[in-house]
């Protein structure tokens, strides 16, 4: 077995209940995290991985309470550092399946550096970034994904910093799997979780999540039924980029090097943009698009293969052992220049 393949042995038949811990869930009533927790507990049995080989690792923030509620191994660590902890764990124990749960503040502000490096190293783990565009646990300051001019307690006349786009960030870091899903779309979340978990390398999912206390309906553009029909662009590999209501389908096409929205019936089929998950450059263009001028891409932007960090480390180790045998400390101590005193 490749060291990256989690759960070598046959997993028992689990139900959602097997993944629920005995701890009281302490999020605010109505929080989007409940839906994500429920979706994840429901998806887990389908992954076919023995429960004891699953580890949830988080940093600090509302989302980071997640491990306490999953009946797997879990480590609730310190602010922003979950990707680094997970990297160390993977290098020590490549047979484990690791989920990193983080938020827009934890993952892109204080932990932005670790996020960059875990993605470029392509460590085999799944990252769930809950993006609610606000600091919830510290009671409502703007976050690195908040829109420019955001009025919060810490920015009474509006924030002065431009937001970062998690998808563009991840792709810029060389991520090999990047997807977006929405907390209010449980079947889609389920599908994305399975895809990301099966990916060999770092699977990065941005989950648009609602903080009903400090930033309610920040994603209303995709929650509202009418708006969703207008703006949601479901990405499907091999399918054209079409969206909008059935009576007014629109197409996302490339004109020169610029994405454009046109009426679907106005363009010949041959000029449609066919979604290709293996085309990272196309994914980079898609990642930046958002309503109102463009559709909101939802689904897998890219899924490509690349060397996995800990696999390479372990291959080097195996090579050294197979070529020269396992290390012998007594021989090491007497290697090189020595002299005897009698």
């Amino acid at each position: 077995m490749s060291p990256s393949e989690a759960g070598a042995k046959e997993a028992p038949k689990y139900t959602k209940k097997d993944f629920e811990s005995d701890q009281d869930v302490r999020w605010c009533p109505g929080c989007g995290d409940y839906a994500i927790l429920s979706a994840l507990q429901k998806t887990m049995p389908d992954l076919g991985i023995p429960k004891e080989n699953i580890v949830f690792i988080s940093g600090i923030g509302c989302s980071s309470r997640f491990p306490y509620y999953m009946n797997t191994y879990g480590f609730h660590t310190i602010h922003g550092r979950a990707p680094a902890i997970a990297t160390g764990l993977r290098v020590a124990r490549p047979e484990l399946k690791i989920f990193v749960v983080t938020g827009d503040g934890d993952g892109l502000s204080i932990g932005g550096n670790h996020m960059l490096h875990v993605l470029r190293r392509n460590v085999n783990l799944t990252i769930l970034l809950f993006n609610n565009r606000i600091y919830g646990l510290t009671k409502g300051q703007y976050s690195p994904t908040s829109e420019l001019g955001k009025v919060t307690k810490s920015t009474p006349v509006g924030s002065a910093d431009r937001p970062v786009n998690p998808l563009s960030f991840a792709l810029g870091c060389g991520a090999t799997f990047v997807a977006r899903t929405v907390d209010r779309n449980i079947p889609h979340m389920d599908e994305m979780l399975k895809r990301a978990a099966a990916h060999k390398g770092t699977g990065f999912i941005e989950i648009l999540q609602n903080c009903n206390v400090y930033n309610d309906l920040a994603w209303n553009v995709i929650y509202d039924r009418e708006s969703k029909v207008q703006h949601e662009l479901r990405l499907e590999h091999g399918k054209p980029l079409l969206f909008g209501p059935p009576d007014d389908r629109r197409a996302l096409i490339m004109r020169g090097v610029t994405p454009k929205v046109v009426r679907a019936k106005d363009v010949p089929e041959s000029t449609l943009w066919i979604h290709d998950e293996t085309n990272v450059n196309a994914a980079k263009l898609l990642a930046d698009l958002f309503a109102p001028d463009f559709p909101i891409p939802v689904g897998v932007l890219t899924a490509v293969e690349a060397p996995v960090y800990e696999d390479l480390i372990l291959q080097q180790e195996q090579k050294a052992i197979s070529e020269r045998g396992p290390g012998d400390i007594a021989k090491l101590l007497t290697s090189g220049d020595t002299w005897k005193i009698s």
């Binding site: 690792i57 306490y68 191994y73 480590f75 080097q316 396992p326």
Partner: protein
């Protein structure tokens, strides 16, 4: 100067026996002084001497040639008796250029041997060193020291004029001339260096030939030039029998970790970010993949420590290292390991600070940081090696204690120990204490914070163990169950429990060994890299008939259980440290003894002469 002297005729030159000698090679960063010193060290080790070394080099990789700050030096003391330090005052200084002379002359004993490379004393170099006139023309130099002006550059070129090398390449071999000359003066065997040249330049025969010829030319010059009236022999030291090797502190730390990982049958995961003077540990460990050593060059210091914590959580030996500034960044991570109660080893190779400070210079001012430098009550075990070779045992012990007590262990080494070397008696690894790792697999009665009654350690559970799925974290938890708890009394209990766990490590500490009388006028207490300087000074005082003893602490938290008793057996207590008085403060607070400090914070080892003076001063003030 410049011509090759005619061979001495008649009688052999006189050879004088010495107990010990202190030599320093100094030159430009590009002059190869570190290599010269290292080779001279190997030759002295072959000759059977005990020795200690002090490499001293600028932080700049290629400092501008000829400048004062670009001077690089290598000092060693070797002797026929026990050698504790690289020495204070020099018996011999080799200065390859004016800057080296200017920086180092003040350390040369009056009457000491001063060897200079004359062609380097040109207008340009004199200007750069800030000499208005050539110091070699000042007659007082030759009056105060035994000055030997040698045209090393010229003699080097002469020796290899027929070799197909360019001028620059030829120039670069002149350090071997200096090495050959000083090797002759102190009767060192050339074989180890000749062997080294053969191996090192196996692929470049011309360079190998050039270095060999120049080395021999330097040696022959000493033997034949009439200017050297005498030379010296230093008899082999009486050392414990066995197989020896030269050992630096950083390599010893790396090998100690490897030995511990092998003994515990676990992979070693080492997270590190490059930083002087700790990087060599990373370089060394990266060579030993066969031992299941997995190195992660992390994106920053925080990732380095947290990756190590992640590895520990996974049931590997998690280790990180840095120097003071990096340790500061790791503080929050160390606190996580404290409360998660995971094993973690953190090596701090201390350097002069604060902030960037003087990265290549030594200091021991991070003791308070190690003891208290984290938010809230976050006690950790703190150990400190006494010598370069001791680093091996301390690293091994750090892993053993971390795993046994489920606690972070901080090791305080320093730049002097890291780069300094000493002859090291290679231990029989089977005699090292066992490291028995027992991961919990038993489901019955399992709780994440269930405690061992002797050590208070919680069980170490590898993820992947069926039925023991559990969650840990940085939030305060209820004892035994590990569930999140904000209960005031539970927090108080956990604060005390974490402290008590560290305190119980005291049961692992052997009785403190006392160098000198068990009771008397003065006790000198040291820790870390000052061991050699203190021991040399104390033995000097003992020889002078003073009632003085010394102890050297390898365990700084918890302190040895017998320490309080020992401190009270002496009328006075002196604590020499390369800081403004940190251990002395701890001793005064812990034991209410009127200990006094001796403190110099110069980025250099403490001179034993000055400690000796401090001892006399303190004894002199005895009523």
């Amino acid at each position: 100067m410049g011509q090759i002297a005619t061979p001495a005729t008649g009688a052999e030159k006189s050879r004088k026996a010495l107990d010990r000698a202190v030599i320093r090679f100094a030159g430009d960063s590009g002059d190869g002084m570190q290599l010269t010193g290292e080779q001279f060290t190997t030759e002295s080790a072959w000759a059977g001497n005990d020795l200690a070394t002090l490499p001293n080099f600028p932080a700049e990789i290629r400092a501008p040639a000829g400048t004062l700050f670009g001077v690089s030096s290598f000092q060693l003391q070797f002797g026929s008796q026990r050698v504790y330090t690289p020495g204070d005052r020099l018996d011999c200084l080799v200065a390859m250029n004016p800057a080296a002379l200017k920086v180092h002359l003040r350390d040369l004993k009056t009457g000491g041997l001063l060897i200079v490379n004359t062609p380097a004393f040109d207008k340009r170099n004199l200007d750069k060193a800030g000499y208005a006139t050539n110091p070699l023309d000042d007659p007082t130099l030759a009056e105060r020291y035994r000055l030997h002006k040698v045209d090393m550059t010229g003699l080097t070129h002469e020796a290899i004029k027929d070799l197909p090398l360019n001028t620059k390449e030829k120039d670069r071999t002149k350090n071997f001339f200096a090495l050959g000359l000083v090797s002759w003066i102190y009767t060192r065997p050339l074989e180890p260096t000749l062997d080294w040249i053969k191996k090192r330049f196996a692929k470049n025969k011309d360079i190998a030939e050039a270095n060999t010829r120049v080395l021999k030319a330097g040696h022959a010059f000493g033997e034949t030039a009439e200017i050297f009236g005498e030379h010296y022999a230093v008899e082999p030291a009486e050392m414990a029998p066995g197989l020896y090797r030269a050992m630096t502190g950083n390599r010893a730390l790396a090998w100690g970790l490897i030995a511990a990982a092998q003994r515990s049958k676990l992979p070693l995961v080492y997270g590190a970010y490059p930083i002087t003077p700790a990087s060599d540990i990373l370089h060394e460990l990266a060579l030993h993949k066969r031992f299941r050593v997995r190195t992660i060059q992390a994106e920053d210091e925080i990732a380095a420590v947290t990756a190590a914590i992640g590895a520990s959580f996974g049931g590997a030996i998690g280790v990180t290292a840095s120097s003071g500034p990096g340790i500061a960044l790791k503080s929050e991570g160390i606190g996580l390991a404290v409360t998660a109660e995971l094993p973690l080893v953190v090596l701090n190779i201390q350097r002069a600070g604060p902030s960037t400070g003087m990265p290549t210079k030594t200091e021991q001012a991070d003791l308070m940081q190690a003891l208290y430098g984290r938010n809230s009550e976050a006690p950790v075990v703190v150990l400190a090696p006494a010598t370069p070779g001791d680093c091996f045992y301390i690293a091994y012990e750090a892993v053993r204690l971390a795993a046994k007590y489920m606690v972070p262990v901080l090791v305080l080494s320093d730049g002097f120990l890291a780069n300094g070397s000493e002859p090291w008696l290679i231990p029989d690894v089977t005699t090292l204490p066992p490291i028995e790792i027992q991961f919990r697999t038993e489901r019955e009665g399992f709780f994440p914070y269930l405690r061992d009654s002797a050590t208070l350690a919680r069980p170490w559970v590898r993820p992947g163990t069926p039925g023991l799925e559990h969650r840990i974290g940085g939030i305060e938890k209820q004892d035994v169950t590990g569930n999140i708890s904000y209960d005031p009394d539970n927090h108080d209990h956990m604060v005390r429990t974490r402290a008590e766990k560290v305190r119980r490590v005291a049961q692992e500490i052997p009785p403190t060994s006392i160098n000198g009388p068990a009771t008397g006028d003065l006790l000198v207490v040291g820790w870390g890299g000052t061991y050699g300087s203190i021991t040399a000074a104390v033995e000097q005082a003992q020889t002078a008939g003073k009632s003085v003893a010394s102890i050297h602490l390898r365990h700084l938290n918890p302190l040895p259980p017998d320490l309080g008793h020992i401190l009270r057996e002496y009328r006075k207590v002196l604590v020499p440290e390369i800081n403004s008085g940190q251990l002395v403060r701890v001793l005064r607070a812990e034991y209410l003894v009127d200990a006094v400090g001796f403190n110099r914070v110069r980025g250099l080892p403490l001179p034993s002469e000055e400690i000796y003076e401090a001892i006399n001063q303190l004894l002199g003030s005895t009523p």
